[in-house]
């Protein structure tokens, strides 16, 4: 376990090595939140509520969704693709650790770093500018914490899956980009899932994506009742377990037919 914690620390150091990325990140997220805030207030116009959400709930939803994204989002799929393409994966395989586990920990290190040095300060800044509503209820915060941890795992597992496909496709830049758009849309980051047409909502129920962004944001804005929240978190957990299976299968196959590129 020690080595995994150490990896989180190393990731912290790496994030600190590139400070400019970090500052521009805050700026980009603030702009995004601002843009969505004005878009939604225009859509709401005079209306008090759409689909059971008030305009303040909506802007909180948007802000939280983006800030949660800072935590669960990572580029380990792109990193894996690069490592496999350049043959660096050989070096990873001569170390006594689980490659995928280590990648997950790197993602977590990145996520924790962004959560504390990026999401929290960002949220403070945003709350000065836009009217947001924070829950005072401790259980909501607790549910939220569990929920974003699970969304991190679901998103990371999907990233691992995408990353492993590089072993078979050798170049999957397109796939990685498509995956990112699909996740942003179907996870409810851009539009809450309850705004989707009913048939689409029915389909999305059977996909893991809403566990990434929609669930934690709905919990945070108190748009879920406690019961609904618990159910949603259990569903997230189920997805985390289900996604382990394809990852393990693909990983075993990938290792068997691994080719180290470039000598």
């Amino acid at each position: 376990m020690d080595k995994y914690l150490e990896m989180i620390r190393i990731r912290f150091l790496m994030m600190l090595a590139y400070r400019t990325n970090y500052y521009t990140g805050i700026l980009i997220y603030s702009i995004n939140i601002g843009a969505y805030y004005f878009l939604w207030s225009a859509i709401y116009g005079e209306k008090d509520a759409i689909e059971g959400m008030s305009v303040i709930q909506m802007s909180t939803y948007v802000a939280v969704a983006w800030m949660a994204r800072a935590f669960y989002f990572n580029n380990i799929d792109r990193e894996m693709a690069a490592e496999i393409k350049e043959g660096k994966v050989a070096v990873e395989l001569i170390r006594p650790y689980n490659y995928l586990g280590m990648k997950t920990m790197q993602g977590l290190g990145e996520g924790v770093f962004r959560l504390f040095f990026f999401s929290v300060p960002g949220m403070v800044i945003v709350s000065f500018i836009f009217p947001l509503q924070f829950s005072a209820d401790l259980t909501t915060w607790l549910f939220f914490a569990v929920s974003i941890l699970l969304s991190f795992f679901i998103n990371t597992q999907i990233n691992l899956l995408t990353g492993i496909t590089t072993f078979f496709l050798f170049n999957n830049t397109g796939l990685i980009r498509a995956k990112r758009v699909v996740i942003d849309l179907f996870s409810g980051l851009l539009i809450p899932i309850s705004f989707f047409p009913n048939w689409a909502q029915d389909i999305l129920k059977y996909l893991p994506f809403q566990g990434i962004s929609y669930v934690p944001s709905m919990i945070f804005t108190n748009s879920f009742s406690n019961n609904e929240a618990i159910q949603a978190i259990i569903l997230q957990g189920v997805w985390v377990i289900i996604l382990v299976i394809p990852i393990q299968i693909l990983w075993v196959i990938a290792k068997k037919q691994l080719i180290i590129q470039g000598g």
Binding site: D2, K3, E6, M7, I10, L13, M14, A17, Y18, G87, K88, A90, V91, L93, I94, R95, P96, Y97, N98, K255, K256, Q257, L258, I259, I260, G262, G263
Partner: protein, 335 residues
């Protein structure tokens, strides 16, 4: 003594895809692709004893790196058996790799953006090295390789020679009984090379570390290894002492003469007509080389004859260099 590495009938085949030519070919490639099975390593067997330093040589593409990758558990063999440190490298990978150290000359295993000592610290945790072990062992390694002043610099700011020394230290953090070095001296200057060689000799002596070394720099092999395994086209073509390789394929000795006066090849041939000598002339430097069998009698007789007949500026007796022998073998094959 125990065998560190046992390789039995090891084979690795790759699918090599070939693209069809032209636009039409490219479209056909979308549907079906041509490929053929290429053996990179073809039925090789050898053993390495604990504490041996073995040079693993061969031309580019002979299958050296592929073998190393199978021995380190990165690649799965197509068939055949590999036992390293008493384990199957690929099956017991996570347990196995903590008993080996690997240096890939062409790839860095340190983290690019962070200071060297941070990489060391992580590796120390990864290999579960205790503080005392680390202190006593690494203090020595760091001193011998002279990397103390580099420890707080990020890897991207190091020169190649500095980086390679750090890589070597990183591979030794857990003091492994077996060390794989894949072209560790590629692109390094003479001083760094010498230092690395000295260091390798030292740890071999001190800890009885087994070292398997691939390189294209044969002076590395000469300095370090008593035994070489030579690979060509995926097959072992020679496995034995470096010395007997020289004796077997070395083509006698070369004696270089420089004369004070103008000399023609014909003159020399006339002088030494009674013994079996082949004369060669280097036009530019006016050096004449006599290639003779490695026989002391013959050599002194030859020199006596030449000295008696001509005035001499310089004489030089040379053994055929390993490099030349190896080049000849690559060129002509082993037969």
């Amino acid at each position: 003594m125990k065998d560190a590495i046992t390789v039995r009938n090891l084979k690795k085949e790759f699918k090599a895809y070939s693209s069809r030519s032209g636009l039409k070919g490219a479209f056909r490639d979308l549907l079906t692709r041509n490929y053929k099975i290429v053996p990179a390593v073809n039925d090789i067997s050898f053993n390495v004893k604990q504490g041996e330093m073995v040079g693993y040589i061969g031309e580019n593409g002979a299958g050296k790196s592929t073998t190393i990758k199978m021995l380190t558990g990165i690649l799965t063999p197509t068939s055949g058996g590999v036992i390293v440190n008493g384990m199957n490298p690929h099956r017991d990978r996570e347990k196995f790799v903590s008993t080996i150290g690997v240096v890939f000359g062409q790839r860095s295993q340190l983290w690019w953006d962070i200071a060297v000592q941070e990489s060391f610290r992580l590796l120390k945790k990864v290999y579960k090295v205790s503080d005392e072990q680390y202190e006593s062992h690494m203090a020595h390694v760091i001193k011998t390789l002279d990397i103390e002043p580099l420890l707080d610099k990020p890897v991207r700011k190091l020169s190649l020679g500095q980086r390679m020394r750090c890589e070597l230290a990183a591979a030794l953090i857990h003091n492994p009984p077996l060390l794989f070095l894949d072209e560790p001296t590629i692109g390094l200057d003479v001083l760094v090379k010498l230092r690395i060689r000295e260091f390798l000799k030292e740890i071999n002596k001190k800890y009885n570390t087994t070292i398997l070394l691939t390189t294209h720099d044969l002076t590395d092999i000469e300095a370090l290894c008593e035994r070489v395994v030579m690979l060509d086209d995926g097959k072992v073509i020679y496995d034995g002492a470096l010395k007997s390789l020289k004796e077997k394929w070395g083509e006698g000795k070369e004696i270089e003469f420089q004369f004070l006066e103008e000399v023609e090849l014909a003159d020399l041939n006339k002088i030494t007509a009674s013994s079996e000598v082949k004369w060669e002339k280097d036009e530019k430097k006016a050096i004449f080389t006599a290639v003779v069998e490695d026989d002391d009698e013959l050599i002194s007789l030859l020199i006596a004859k030449v000295v008696a007949a001509l005035k001499i500026k310089d004489i030089n007796i040379k053994e055929t260099s390993t490099e030349e022998i190896i080049r000849n073998i690559y060129d002509r094959g082993i037969s």
